[in-house]
Amino acid sequence: MDSISAYISIIISTVFINNFILSRFLGLCPFIGVSKSTGPAVSMGIAVTFVTTMASILTWTIYEFVLIPFGLEYLRTLTFILVIASFVQFAEIVIQKKSPALYRVLGIYLALITTNCAVFGVAVLNIDMFFLHGKPLAGSFLKSVVQGFGAGAGFTLAMLLMSGIRERLEFAEVPRCMKDAPITFIVASLMSLAFLGFSGFKI
């Protein structure tokens, strides 16, 4: 069992240093699409966090107990997409029935997450980082889950920052040709540059 610091370092790494949106450039579609106002942006972030965490658990299990014993590691892309899509569908059905209130907040975003590459990215990254020669490293499962959660938290942070900036941009005098998408892209690139400042950190 690793010391607790290993898990903290994973979280800090995924939230700041290797932020999924701003450093790895994964999940850019909702980052631009759903970041117009803070409310939906945070809802989207929470939905993604939930799905990345659960997807980490599921994909790790499937990889360890199904793919490795059959020697099918090369099919992980196909399998993970299948697993994630099924899980999101399942979660949507259950939430719709059990908690209509939560469904109204998260429901429309859940369907979008099915095709979100950040979710798939974290699943693949878990395998790349915490498996060696087809064998799970020490504490591999827990680290995967923590990384999944951290990826979602980093995603939420980026969404929150972006939506806050865009809400203020509404009132700024942006030249007409730069309104909406162009200025958003510029803001995103500046934020990415700022997050590049974390990349020297060693933990």
């Binding site: 697993v83 099924s86 399942f90 259950v94 029935k97």
Partner: protein, 263 residues
């Protein structure tokens, strides 16, 4: 060799089947019935997804209808038959809204003089960016037919007179032309009001007459002729008060430049 192919095929098939069955089972236990009314209403809506109702397309409007957040007449495009059918599905009374038709508030076209020769992109938007357009009248129609292009119902055609013409039968008052015209010449007028002023220029009467032979010269003849005082000249332009107008048509008869039009 065969096993190398068989193992992945069987494994993936088993995984897919498991997930599929799991989802089907979950849908049976947790599934929620979608309101069949919504699907039925969508078939009655025009399906143009023009967004004139303010909702995200026809499906969004149908959803709002079922929830009671909208009334059938909120869709300006549907005809009265479809509205009635929708009201029947919802089990409510069809609250009738007056049908509106778009009108072009310019009768210049070829009668308006040009300021310069324009050789650019054949689009009103592009032309209006160059010193407000090539027409000597800053308010007038540029005649490239941006409105014809945006009309989803083919209700607008470009006439030989250099002006767009609205087919009242086809017009559904979706408002696309109102948004598309860079000069803002389109306006939606209730179907029962047959007269309208086909000029938008607020330049002084004399200046207008110099550049366009079909402009409102603010002579006030219509104002004097109207027995119910439903038309007034304000800021160099005749304007209707449709609250008072009774379609008498005196103004139409006396207008010297024939900018008061009947449809």
């Amino acid at each position: 060799m065969m096993t190398q192919i068989l193992i992945p095929v069987v494994t993936m098939a088993a995984l897919g089947l498991t997930f599929g069955a799991g989802l089907a089972y979950a849908l049976k236990i947790f599934g929620i019935e979608v309101d069949p009314k919504t699907a039925l209403i969508i078939t009655k809506l025009p399906g143009a997804n023009c967004g004139a109702c303010g909702k995200a397309g026809c499906a969004g409007f149908a959803d709002a209808l079922v929830k009671g957040e909208a009334v059938p007449s909120g869709c300006p495009v549907t005809n009265s038959e479809a509205r009635k059918a929708i009201a029947e599905i919802l089990g409510i009374e069809d609250t009738l809204k007056l049908k509106q038709i778009a009108a072009v508030r310019c009768s210049g076209g070829n009668k308006a003089k040009d300021k310069y020769v324009y050789h650019g992109i054949k689009s009103c938007r592009a032309a209006s960016l160059v010193f407000g357009g090539y027409k000597a009248c800053a308010f007038g129609c540029l005649g490239f037919g941006d409105c014809v292009e945006v009309c989803p119902f083919d209700a607008i055609t470009m006439g030989d007179d250099g002006l767009p013409h609205v087919d009242p039968e086809r017009c559904t008052a979706c408002g696309n032309c109102v948004k598309a015209c860079p000069k803002g010449l389109f306006t939606l007028i209730a179907e029962k009001n047959v007269y309208y002023v086909a000029c938008s220029s607020t330049d002084p009467g004399g200046a207008k007459a110099k550049v366009c032979s079909a402009s409102c010269i603010a002579c006030k003849k219509c104002e004097k002729a109207c027995p119910v005082s439903a038309i007034k000249v304000d800021a160099n332009l005749s304007r209707f008060d449709y609250q008072k107008c009774q379609n008498i048509g005196k103004c139409f008869e006396v207008c010297p430049t024939k900018v008061i039009k009947k449809r």
